[in-house]
Amino acid sequence: MMIKPPASNGKTRRVRKAGLVVFCLGLLLGVLALSLPGLDSGIAHAAELADTGADTATYQPAPKLTAADYPTIKGVNSRIAVWLAAQLHLWFAAFVLAVPIFVFIIEAIGMGTRDKRYDNMAYEFIKVSITAYSFTAILGGLLTFLLVLFYPHLFQYMSSIFKESMFYYALLFFLESATLYLYYYGWHWLQGGFRKWVHLSLGLLLNAVGTLLMFLANAWVTFMMSPAGVDPAGVFSGDAWAAIHNFLWNPINIHRVIANIAYGGSIVGAYAAFKFLSARKSEQRAHYDWMGYNANFIAISALLPLPFAGYYLTAEIYAYSQQMGITLMGGVFAWLFIIQAVLIGTLFLSANYYLWCGMGRSDGAVRYHKYIKYLAIVIVGAFLVWFTPHTLVLTNEELKALGGPYHKYLGPLGIMPAKNTAVNIMILFTTLSFIFYRRANKVATVSWASAGNAIQIALFTAGILNIFFLGVYHGYFTNTVYKVAASIPQVLTTLTIIVTSTAIDAFMYRGAKQVAPLHWGRVSDRSQYALFLLAVAFTWLMGLMGYIRSGIRQHWHVTNVFRDASPDAFTPGLGYAANVVSVGTILFMAMVIFVFWIADVSSRKTAADAYWKTPPA
């Protein structure tokens, strides 16, 4: 829950809930709207073609290319160019799609509480994203251009299947831009009473359209991973919906929405941290501290369910193709998950560190100080288990001696239960950090406070024991074929604990006494670096996962249907990929700095009175 500013009233929660419901309904409507006008006509069109027997003439099989079919430009590595453009586009897109989601929620909270600070914060968030929006569009254009330039056959094949959705994508993009500009530039105009409701609805529309845009783009991407609606030779059946609604579409949709929110939160967190560090006045520091806190809260709330969305995606990849699943988890990419573990661990550690530092804002936090070190020990311990590869001595030479990369110790599948246990523990202790943080400044006044505490302690203890039991049992006493699925009871335990304990806490601290007002701005500068770390690690991680998502197609443009015959069809090794991702991250950071700077410049004024003629009186 976001920390309420002191002067809030009881309506907050209701409004927040209402906001969420409205939002979900809007999304649903949006998705429905998508399938109606655009695609139906597409499908109808295809059906007509099929009737006249013209479809075979219309849809060609996927072309069989040779290296000569790929245009080259001296000195340009076409794959890296496309890779970077796609990744940069994605980073910006994730950011600009996420910001309106929480801006909408924050605006709604502001409307409910009538606390202007929420409105101001929401406005500041959207202001940051507006320049980023142009970058998204420019980079999207660049990506398309590079695809047409370097991969003309692939682009042609894809657009022959997705011509309708590409067309509606363009239309939606205009709608998105118009809504965004109206939403942003109309912010101060659409204030008060009815107008505020209009503004909020614009926010809803913005989110619906934005999400739709992403879903469409996801359809193209997932079609390349798990093609549907085409025969083995790649001849399109004409059923656009089948191609869009391919096997991995929804798993990726879910994963990306959640990841985007976490990512967007981390980027605005970095913005707030930077403003905090450069703020001179104490009320500015207080404002940006509060903003940073909320951004971090958003990032973490979305980060907690992310591993579960990841498991779901992985399980679906297995279900789609065991071969692809094993390539993902058991082959050369196995080590990638070790790097991923390091990065996610970094995210968790920095988020926790930030929370612990933040306890300094409260005078009541001393009561909890003594627990922090145990939290730290457990989280670091879980982190170590998570990223320790099962064997540390396996070198490349040894690998070859063992007859290929698919060795038993290497596939993290075999040791997945241990890692799952660690992840779940880490998530639970992060939840604990958060509960402590929330309690830091409060004293429960309900009569059953001690009973409530006891229940929570029992809940956590039982849950942790259960998670350990499941981990040990599945890890060492079973031989399940689908070890990924074995993690489900653990995940359910974790979720149950989070939901139940948050609910208990919410009731227990209803009407709780405040120890003292929170001192926003009373945090160390050092804590702000945790926010930067969060943003950088997130960016890098997204880049890395982009590489594997695309990499598991191996030497196929479209899995098993359209072969990549370019000289760059090889799957790059991890070091190579990490370097490309690092370069991308640096480019992205440079652009983001520019975005932040522009947002700042727009509010600056240089007094140059002597420069202008005084108008004749």
């Binding site: 065991q322 990065l343 030479e397 290929g404 890098w540 098993n560 090794g573």
Partner: protein
């Protein structure tokens, strides 16, 4: 500005750490390059070669070992696939049309769901659907001749008679995995004979350079009796002259491909100097 620089340095440092870890903290495995199309010479094929081809396809292009390996538990072991085939065809769960072992194996590869080995079906399908892909299609795309080569290999593996016949129509250009194994990673050249001997574990079999292996001849005075040409040949082609009292075929026949010419000559010089 100071803050800006501090944050910038911090962020670059973080990126550097991530990149450094990915490059140096974990082993760098080069993914196998994409398979290359190659002609299959069926005309001049002997059964031994055909079985060997099957084995190569099995481990390479067919990607069979991705699933069929002893450690993953993801798919049944195939050592006895050819012997259990007749039982499978009798099984009440058998849905296919095969009547011979060869047909059964063929069917297992192109229509895996015809019989699903108990416990290995797709999750939730109650062993009615196989997770194994049709290996003649899609990403694996084995040809008819290639499938038959694998059957020959599987029959040979099970120790039964190989009853599949080599297809004669040396038909269209068949694909064969040329580079199943990842290409050997370029290894830094070793610059002392001791390093070479350690690297190639000569000491496991020979008494040489302080080590006391006893499987092969004592090499501590080998230079006294053998000249360089002989030594070179015994490394490149160990079975050309077999040392008295020892068995042929023991000494690995790999040094010619795994050592550089410079390394080989250095080793020969070193051995010739052992008097």
């Amino acid at each position: 500005m100071r803050n800006f620089l501090k944050v910038l340095c911090f962020s670059l440092l973080v990126i550097g750490l991530f990149a450094g870890y990915s490059n140096y903290g974990i082993p760098q495995i080069e993914p196998a390059p994409p398979p290359v199309e190659e002609k299959l010479e069926l005309g001049a094929m002997t059964m031994d070669k055909f079985i060997a081809l099957g084995e190569r396809l099995y481990n390479g292009k067919g990607t069979c070992t991705l699933c069929h390996n002893p450690t993953g538990g993801r798919a049944p072991q195939l050592e006895s696939a050819a012997t259990v085939a007749s039982e499978r065809m009798q099984d009440s769960r058998y849905q296919g049309t095969a009547s011979t072992v060869v047909e059964y194996l063929y069917e297992s590869m192109v229509e895996p769901s015809a019989y699903v080995v108990a416990g290995f079906g797709k999750a939730g399908s109650n062993d009615s659907e196989s997770p194994m892909p049709d290996v003649s299609a899609g990403g694996i795309g084995l040809s008819d001749a290639e499938l038959k080569a694998i059957i020959a290999y599987l029959q040979d593996l099970a120790g039964t008679d190989v009853t599949v016949s080599i297809p004669t129509d040396a038909a269209p250009a068949e694909a064969e995995e040329k580079t199943a194994e990842p290409p050997p990673a370029p290894r830094a050249a070793l610059d002392t004979p001791d390093a070479l001997i350690a690297k190639f574990t000569c000491g496991a079999c020979h008494k040489v350079a302080g080590q006391v292996g006893a499987i092969g001849p004592d090499l501590t005075t080998i230079g006294a009796t053998r000249d360089k040409a002989y030594l070179r040949r015994s490394l490149l082609d160990p079975n050309a002259d077999v040392a008295e009292g020892f068995m042929a075929g023991m000494m690995p026949n790999i040094y010619g491909t795994q050592m550089s010419a410079a390394e080989l000559e250095m080793l020969v010089d070193y051995l010739a100097g052992l008097k």
